[in-house]
Amino acid sequence: MPFIERDHTADILMHVWGASREELFREAAAALFSIMFPSSMPRDAHQTIVCEADSDEALLSTFLSEILFFAEVECEGYASADVHLDGTTLKADLYGEPYDRDRHSGGTEVKGISRSGMKIEKTQRGYETDILFDV
């Protein structure tokens, strides 16, 4: 799995990597889904996110924050994301299912995507960053 949980006392710290920027963003979404919706499946819920920001870090936190917004107002749990990046613009399709408290309980609510310690770096295996999820 291209993300791993690191120790953090109060919140959930994930280290995420991908061969390309798009893969990094997709895996960052997968890391978020693993926290909030560990048992959701990509079924009949679909949302499209379009956003823009002036740095990769701002774009990543905006993208993940948009997922939190849709999950809450549409009452859906997501399992996968297709991500397309064009410079500073992102378009993503989320796939999941309506949130069902009986089937999907066990996830942890994420309150926000912290910018603390988020720094997207080019490394040997592509792109990597830490992401701190406030829970």
Partner: protein, 477 residues
């Protein structure tokens, strides 16, 4: 001992200027020798980072429940000059006005009997956990009124007693709330969630008063030995989370515009008097007021259920007090002998105003403000009173809770939620939660002992013990 810090008093430590580049003032934190091993370098660094922000007065402070968060450490308190200081969502957090209130009942533990039916009724009536929505339909106009009037709005709608607002910090609403700075997204999250408890560390707990340390203060607060009380811990829900998210993005650009260098992007900020700073304050105040209204509505649901189940009057369940844990507010404090209006940020810290302050509930003018410190599930909660020492040393602030020592991932790995449920059951504490996982993450073992954190603030004089409460039953998201 972490290198570079020095002891400044029996329970006080200093992080000197120079610990991290750009510090304008020293950092000061309160901790006992016993709690020193729990101190994380990350938390110290975050305390030092606070000290680099423009306009910070005296010290970057942290309470004994200090731990590693983002932006400010949890337990962090920073007061900023109105003239040249900043305001930052990193000093408040995503869960704006996450706070605690305590409601008294005329019941004793004997009256309570088996607690499971009460917990089940509360769990059914109060939406709890992820994906739950309010049973109430709130219009956009209602939402605006909630965001500007706070607890008063809820009381005027029939969710409470007239006296409730006088027993809330700031009378349950901050002046200066400006809903024009609240986005459509934040509104869309806030409308369906009023009157919901939320998930994670939020809870509603049935407690009993087991020990009175200060009979005079206890009587003034309305607390008696053996009495059953209800503690509610929750905040501004998705509305506050979205307001924080929206304004961090705005303030990150603003910080560049105003030439403020940030050691951590989460400390994005702007001068308090700038349009960007004022916009954040206006929106944050909306979330804070929403949170007070939210806790007021949960109070109403709770009173209705207890009134029905135990044949007691709604009026016999007064609010003891309601305090905010995550908020930035304008307050007057003495700085070097002069009274100054400051923007005080408390992130995981509680206001603890001493006797004689203008914002104290009726009957507490000479006692000091009631301070509520929740324990973790299965451990003691405390009522304390605010002091002049807190006014002199910490801008009228004290700790907010126990403070985590174990990460959630470690807690899940090493603690079994079912075992904790059984262990608490043997101690006479019932837990109703959406899953065993949330019990494992929030297990008592994952927190510093609340009694030790409270001992430090008591010994340091930042607030003084009034009563100890023990849990009997808890509902959690």
């Amino acid at each position: 001992m972490i290198e570079g810090i020095r002891k400044a008093g029996p329970f006080e430590w200093e992080i000197p200027v120079g610990f991290t580049p750009g510090m304008r003032v020293p950092g000061r934190f309160f901790l006992s020798e016993e709690l020193m091993p729990t101190l994380e370098e990350g938390a110290l660094q975050q305390c030092a980072n606070m000290a680099t922000l423009p306009g910070i007065e005296k010290y970057a402070l942290a309470m004994p429940d200090i731990h590693w968060g983002y932006g400010f450490p949890i337990g962090g308190v920073g007061a900023f000059s109105i003239d040249d200081g900043i305001i930052s969502p990193g000093g408040v957090g995503f869960d704006i006005n996450c706070g605690v209130r305590l409601i008294a009942t005329p019941l004793t533990t004997e009256d309570l009997g088996r607690i499971q039916p009460l917990l089940s009724h509360l769990f059914t009536r109060i939406p709890t956990g992820i994906g739950t929505k309010s049973p109430l339909r709130v219009s956009d106009q209602d939402l605006d009124a909630m965001m500007t009037e706070g607890a008063s709005w809820a009381v005027n709608q029939g969710y409470g007693l007239k006296g409730d607002v006088t027993r809330c910090e700031e009378q349950g609403s901050i002046d200066g709330a400006d809903s024009t700075h609240v986005s459509g997204k934040a509104r869309a999250r806030g409308r369906p969630q009023c009157g919901t408890l939320g998930a994670g560390n939020h809870f509603l707990e049935i407690q009993s008063v087991e020990e009175i340390f200060d009979p005079v203060a206890a009587e003034a607060f309305g607390i008696a030995q053996g009495q059953v009380c209800v503690m509610i811990h929750c905040g501004s829900r998705g509305l506050g989370h979205q307001i924080c998210t929206d304004h961090i993005a705005i303030l990150e650009k603003a910080a560049k515009k105003y030439g403020i260098s940030l050691p951590d992007p989460q400390l994005a900020c702007a001068p308090i008097t700038s349009p960007d700073g004022e916009a954040y304050f206006g929106a944050m105040a909306c979330a804070a007021n929403y949170a007070w209204a939210n806790r007021q509505m949960i109070t109403h649901f709770t009173r209705e259920i207890i009134a029905r189940q135990f044949s007691v009057d709604y009026e016999e369940m007064p609010l003891i007090y309601d305090v905010a844990h995550n908020v930035a507010k304008f307050e007057e404090h003495m700085v070097d002998g002069k009274k100054k209006k400051l923007c005080v940020h408390r992130k995981g810290a509680t206001r603890a105003f001493g006797p004689g302050n203008h914002d104290l509930p009726p009957g507490c003018e000479e006692i000091g403000q009631p301070v509520l410190i929740p324990g973790s599930m299965g451990t003691s909660s405390f009522i304390l009173k605010g002091t002049q020492t807190a006014m002199d040393r910490t801008f009228g602030s004290t700790c907010h809770g126990a403070g985590r020592v174990l990460s959630r991932s470690q807690a899940k790995k090493h603690i079994d939620g079912g075992d904790i449920r059984d262990r608490l059951g043997h101690q006479g504490i019932s837990v109703k939660a959406t899953s065993n996982k949330v019990i494992a993450e929030e297990a008592p073992d994952a927190y510093k002992p609340s009694s030790e954190v409270v001992r430090v603030v008591h010994e340091a004089g930042l607030s003084l013990r009034v009563a100890r409460l023990e849990p009997k039953g808890v509902i959690k998201g």
